[in-house]
């Protein structure tokens, strides 16, 4: 009985093996047709997308073709010394700023002093690199004014930190691109009191742009703009709205490569 089963099994196995082999043989003997010529493809223009109304007008200005334009808008350009009115305090006076700033520091109880000094230290060298620091000038002026005290460097540093902490996770730069190491983009954004962007962020300036990398620099700048759009609204202290209603954010992937 078992022998018969085994025989039947072996018979079936043989038939299957034979079938498989003959199929395989037939398959491998199929004449090969020559591979097709490439199917041709032609490029054509297609229907215009109507101008999208949803986006505010600024979006058109932000079209990144202008990336290479080095000129910064007037509002962000450092004031020329000779255009400053006569009465503005002479430059030496700006050196008093850090001293004056110490007074409010003592009142700010909940703030972690050590961290703050770090922030200030970080912020200071950067501001020194600018030809003439507008914010410092404003502080100076304010210090001279009777009521003053709305702009102060530590608050500014804290706000900058808050913006950085919220925007960086939204920024997805094209890492590994041809020229990523040497590229930065400065974006100007205006915010409403609830932290939402007003309009579309504008590209102020960009470094690392060459004739050969126009497409890449455009894509790079757009990732920065997209980061701000995605992160909106930012959560920032409304009390200090004057400090952050307008921001210039420099995107530099130096720590990523």
């Amino acid at each position: 009985m078992t022998e018969r089963q085994a025989l039947i099994g072996a018979g079936i196995a043989h038939i299957m093996l034979f079938a498989a082999l003959s199929l395989g043989w037939e398959w491998s003997q199929q004449p090969l047709l020559p591979a097709d010529e490439m199917i041709p493809i032609e490029f054509v223009d297609i229907a215009n997308a109507p101008r999208i109304k949803e986006a505010p007008r600024q979006s058109m200005q932000a079209a990144p073709q202008e990336n290479s334009a080095p000129a910064a808008p007037a509002a962000t350009a450092p004031p020329e010394p000779d255009t400053v009115p006569d009465g503005v305090p002479p430059l030496e006076k700006t050196k008093e700023v850090p001293k004056k700033a110490e007074a409010p520091l003592a009142e700010a109880k909940p703030l972690d002093m050590s961290k703050l000094s770090n922030l200030i230290d970080k912020a200071l060298p950067k501001s020194r690199t600018r030809p003439l620091d507008v914010s410092k000038l404003a502080t100076t002026i304010e210090a001279a004014a009777p009521k003053g005290a709305t702009i102060d460097p530590r608050s500014a540093a804290t706000i900058a930190q808050a913006i950085r902490a919220q925007v960086a996770p939204c920024w997805n730069p094209p890492i590994g691109g041809a020229d990523v190491r040497r590229m930065t983009v400065l974006i100007r954004a205006d915010f409403s009191r609830d932290g939402r962007l007003i309009g579309v962020p504008v590209i102020v300036s960009q470094t690392g742009v060459t004739i050969g990398n126009a497409d890449y620099s455009r894509a790079f700048a757009e990732t920065a703009r997209r980061a701000l759009l995605r992160c909106s609204p930012l959560k920032l202290p409304i009390k200090q709205y004057e400090l952050w209603k307008s921001a210039e954010i420099n995107f530099d992937p130096e720590s990523m490569t």
Partner: protein
């Protein structure tokens, strides 16, 4: 007093409300979430490749797969879409619907049957958060050519969002392998970059090795043992014609085209010395480029055709060397630990990919043409035979498992995004075509 007055005025002037300055020095490196809904059929019509509605769905899938395979995009699962795309939405997308699923880019389009039976595939890309159109292009092809239209659309989107040229509308030629180690059957095979449209070019009676595309993508050069005489051959796609490049008495191998397609460079063994030769394809005139004792092989042109990188054991072990296209100025460029073989110049010109042999392993590495900046991109048991994507961002190679299968794999230039390329059988010796026209 006057000072104070002016200062107070200035504070009140909005122009002086200087924007706060923020420096962002790092972001996240994550694939970009992109929505690729089925392309709309302007009118549901049937074609030889299916209805326009079906084509629209398949085109979107091919685009999504292409983008995903790059590792730079994350197509969102269509199940999450809150809306489909009708014909009117293609040029007027409902951005709010795409924002809710956190898509950052939207790729959409339409399929139209033309009067002559061809199809036009319209391809549109949008930035979802700024609600802006990024790019658009129409592609006219036969209904059977819908895949090429989809790859072209994916290339358009890739290049617009990354700023680099695409590589999806391209093909791969490789050696398909089957059978036991001792009686391996090797056949030339060609397929689209994504594995579609696979077909065998040779029957497998003769062993074939190292197929390489001509710049026009219509000719393939390879080495075949036909008639037990290992020689360099040419295969013409379309006609299927195969011809040996010459009746050399000696073994010729490791062929490659020059960037302008007019010359072949390859190795030939003459009198116990293997050197690199160049052949003018039109005149069949042969020039010898190297003369040193030892094996000089695996030559590859720089993209401008001015230089050649090759491997040689003239110094005692396999290393990479560079010379001018006429054979002058030969100079060793690889000095790291172990040996270096099978160099291939990047289509961008800035890097050379090669196989690093050492420590019982083969790995894929890249270095600059001056030999600096060496990096290993893979770390497996045996990875070899690199070939570049047309944009120089991805490297394809073959990986042999210990006593196991041999497969095609890809890795990007940063060493990330390792992927197995699907082939029906085992695969080795891949070569990537240039971007198709």
């Amino acid at each position: 007093m006057r000072v104070l007055f002016i200062a107070a005025m200035l504070v009140a002037t909005p122009a002086l409300a200087a924007p706060i300055r923020v420096d962002i020095n790092s972001g996240i490196a994550q694939p970009l979430p992109v929505a690729v809904p089925g392309f709309a059929a302007t009118a549901v019509q049937s074609t030889e490749a299916g209805s326009t509605a079906e084509l629209g769905g398949r085109i979107a899938q091919v685009i999504a797969n292409d983008l995903k395979s790059s590792g730079l995009f994350r197509p969102i699962d269509p199940q999450a879409y809150t809306t489909t795309v009708g014909a009117a939405d293609v040029t007027r997308p409902q951005f709010a619907n795409w924002r809710t699923i956190a898509a950052q880019a939207l790729v959409t389009g339409n399929v139209t049957v033309n009067a002559d039976g061809n199809i036009t595939v319209g391809c549109y890309a949008y930035d979802v958060f700024s609600a802006e159109e990024l790019t658009r292009q129409g592609f006219v092809t036969t209904a059977a050519g819908w895949r090429r239209a989809a790859h072209k659309c994916a290339d358009l989107v890739y290049s617009r969002l990354t700023g680099e040229s695409g590589y999806f509308d391209s093909r791969i030629v490789y050696v398909s392998e089957t059978g036991p180690r001792t009686r391996r059957i090797k056949r030339l095979a060609v397929m689209d970059q994504d594995g579609a449209g696979h077909r065998f070019l040779t029957q497998g009676q003769n062993l074939v090795l190292t197929p390489r595309f001509a710049p026009n993508q219509q000719t393939i050069t390879y080495m075949s043992f036909e008639g037990n005489r290992p020689r360099v051959w040419l295969y013409t796609l379309g006609s299927g014609r195969q011809q040996a490049i010459g009746e050399f008495p000696n073994m010729s191998f490791a062929p490659r085209f020059s960037p302008d397609g007019s010359n072949l460079i390859f190795s030939m063994a003459v009198g116990g010395n293997t050197d690199v030769y160049r052949m003018d394809i039109a005149t069949r005139r042969l020039s010898r480029l190297t003369t040193q004792p030892g094996i000089d092989t695996a030559p590859s042109y720089s993209p401008d055709g001015s230089r050649i990188v090759f491997e040689s054991d003239r110094g005692g072990s396999q290393q990479l060397y560079i010379m001018a296209a006429d054979g002058t100025g030969q100079q060793r460029i690889s000095f790291g630990e172990g040996r270096a073989a099978t160099p291939v110049w990047s289509p961008r010109g800035d890097l050379i990919a090669f196989t690093r042999l050492g420590g019982g392993r083969f790995s894929i590495g890249v270095m600059r043409p001056d030999g600096g900046g060496e990096r290993l991109l893979t770390n497996a048991y045996q990875d070899e035979g690199p070939t570049w994507s047309p944009n120089g961002r991805v490297i394809l190679f073959f990986r042999s498992a210990r006593g196991g299968p041999v497969d095609l794999w890809s890795v990007d230039l940063s060493g990330q995004n390792e992927r197995k390329v699907p082939t029906p059988l085992d695969g080795s010796d891949p070569a990537w075509s240039p971007l198709l026209p």
